[in-house]
């Protein structure tokens, strides 16, 4: 096994996913199979190969430090499930 059920549960919690027991079982099997498949890469000789940071061979895409128009607060909040005082309103995050 490449991954344990407990690890899948942990990763699920980090992703804020409420996984049922059945889902945990099936996902553990699926993720294990994926990792097994990817494991094949380990058979390649990668000595002297620079780690790839990006799939496109490109560097330094910059923008100038110039202010561009922003949304109005109304526009910014137009998709917010809840808002108040020009701000997104969420459940209180500290006591």
């Amino acid at each position: 096994m490449k991954i344990t059920r407990a690890e899948v549960e942990h990763v699920g919690r980090l992703a804020r996913l409420a996984l049922s027991d059945e889902e945990l079982d099936s996902l553990t099997g699926e993720m294990d199979a994926i990792l097994d498949y990817v494991e094949q890469l380990k058979t390649l000789d990668t000595d002297g190969i620079v780690p790839t940071a990006h799939a496109v061979p490109m560097e330094n895409a910059f923008r100038a430090d110039e202010v561009k128009p922003s949304f109005t607060p109304e526009q910014a909040l137009s998709n917010a499930p809840d808002a108040s005082e020009n701000a997104f309103r969420v459940r209180r995050v500290i006591e």
Binding site: H54, R63, A87, F88, I94
Partner: protein, 483 residues
């Protein structure tokens, strides 16, 4: 008991870079605006929006790296730091993990015993700030937190030190030095209260002689140098007490409460350290050429340390004067401009550190907005040097200059403050004073020579401060002994 333990401190400073726009989009970074009035699809994390790196932010990072003796990475990459919190719209923060832009730097700090100590800088990396959370305090919002994303995506440089500091004082000394440098460089406005310069402290203790580091606690919410010192000192005591009473330090994040002066555990972020960094596929690698580095290096200002030694070695100031004048870049520039005009560095230093700083404080003004410019100040010094006015009258003239921005010459003319150097005029005042104080004259002649000060004072008073004090002194001595 404290002496049996060694304190180990490492600091993480988040310096907000002084760009006009955010690090990955064109929204303004101006502080204190209407909530959510500085947002766009990129910093709100709307689907499909892509970040593009602000070149100015990179330049400011290089600048800071060079001034803190770091190596600038020829190639660095951005990474996603994954966690959920309402102030983080994307569900990850764009930061740097492997390959940060600056590494392996150091700063020297001055210890109380006069020695210098080198504090290592592990790395400095660019990242975006999160939004601001306000926890509701009205009946309507008391069960809510309000999210303002104006600050989200503001450029930060996180400067991480080695765990090289051994006391709160060393930590403060390092922080002040770093603060002074970033403000001098103009890469950060250094405002602790507005959160432009934030500090987290990693603190542990270990018995003296032990190689291995103790378990550390991370202190957050430190927004003044005084609080940082208080927080560190409290935390060190707490950890020692805990160990002494048989307990164990837990690795955790703790918040400093400035009302109680204590630190308390920040619960509820137990998964917070599992960030699952991955290279961000939305951003291409950052490549910094040697030419670019040299270009930035050429624009570095003279740093405080170099200024201090120049003030001492070339201008003959005391170490203390040099320290005060070099502490603030604009003050140092004001002093340099004054010396260039007046040549007499010592009197420039005295006037700036005395009257100019006092007026700035009284009127709550910054040196850049001082109504008395270096030109005006040195104009005044010239009139003292050529005996047009005495040092005492000069103080009055300075006050007027500060009020109306006129030159010393204009004020001296208008107010008739020119020093009286006419022997006849001074002589008659001296005669009057001698005639009016026969008792003191007798005492003086009886050997109480200190009384000369009394007579000089009387004559100066009678001349409304305008008589040349040297002449008064000389004439008095002649007349008194001639009696």
């Amino acid at each position: 008991m404290t002496q049996r333990y060694e304190t180990v401190i490492g600091l993480e400073v988040h310096a907000q870079l002084t760009t006009n726009t955010k690090i990955f989009c064109g929204c303004s970074t101006e502080f204190g605006q209407t909530p959510n009035s500085q947002t766009c699809p990129v910093c709100l994390a709307l689907p499909g929006a892509l970040p593009v790196l602000n070149q100015k932010a990179v330049e400011l990072a290089i600048r800071t790296g060079l001034a803190t003796n770091c190596q600038i990475a020829p190639r660095s990459i951005f990474a996603r730091k994954n966690y959920f919190y309402p102030d983080l719209p994307k569900g990850y923060q764009i930061s740097q993990f492997e390959l940060p832009v600056c590494e392996h730097g150091w700063l020297d700090i001055d210890l109380e015993n006069g020695e210098r100590k080198r504090i290592g800088i592990t790395r400095a990396h660019m990242e975006e700030d999160a939004g601001k959370l306000v926890h509701g305090d009205t009946p309507e919002t008391s069960s809510n937190s309000l999210v303002d994303l104006n600050r989200a995506c503001t450029p930060l440089l996180e400067i991480v030190s080695e765990p090289d500091m051994r006391s709160a004082d060393e930590a403060i000394s390092y922080l002040k030095k770093l603060h002074q440098i970033v403000v001098y460089l103009g890469v950060c406005d250094g405002n602790l209260e507005e959160g432009s310069f934030r500090c987290d402290a990693n603190i542990s203790v270990r018995p003296y002689g032990q190689e291995e580091l103790g378990t550390r606690a991370e202190l957050k919410n430190l927004n003044s140098f005084r609080f940082i010192k208080q927080a560190i000192e409290f935390e060190v005591e707490r950890q020692i007490d805990l160990i002494e009473s048989g307990g164990k330090v837990v690795q955790e994040t703790r918040l400093f409460d400035s009302n109680t002066g204590m630190t308390r555990s920040m619960r509820g972020k137990e998964d917070a350290h599992d960030y699952r960094y991955v290279p961000d596929p939305d951003l291409v690698p950052l490549v910094i050429s040697q030419e670019w580095i040299e270009e930035v290096r050429a624009t570095l200002p003279e740093l405080p340390e170099a200024k201090r030694s120049r003030f001492v070695e070339e201008l003959g100031l005391t170490a203390y004067d040099a320290e005060v004048l070099a502490a603030d870049r604009e003050l140092a520039d004001y002093f340099d401009a004054s010396v260039a005009l007046a040549k007499d560095a010592k009197s420039c230093a005295n006037w700036i550190m005395g009257d100019v700083l006092r007026k700035l404080k009284e009127t709550d003004t910054t040196i850049a907005n001082a109504p008395v410019s270096p030109e005006l100040l040195t104009g005044l010094l010239a009139r003292i040097a050529d005996n047009t006015i005495s040092g005492k009258i000069a103080k009055k003239v300075f006050e007027k200059m500060w009020q109306n921005g006129q030159t010393a010459d204009q004020i001296i003319d208008k107010e008739g403050l020119k020093q009286v150097t006419d022997t006849g005029a001074i002589e008659s005042l001296v005669d009057e004073v001698i005639a009016a104080n026969p008792g003191q004259v007798a005492e003086y002649l009886g050997g109480k020579e200190k009384l000369i000060g009394f007579f000089v004072g009387k004559v100066m008073q009678a001349s409304q401060g305008k008589a040349n004090p040297g002449m008064v002194n000389q004439l008095l001595k002649q007349k008194l002994t001639g009696n």
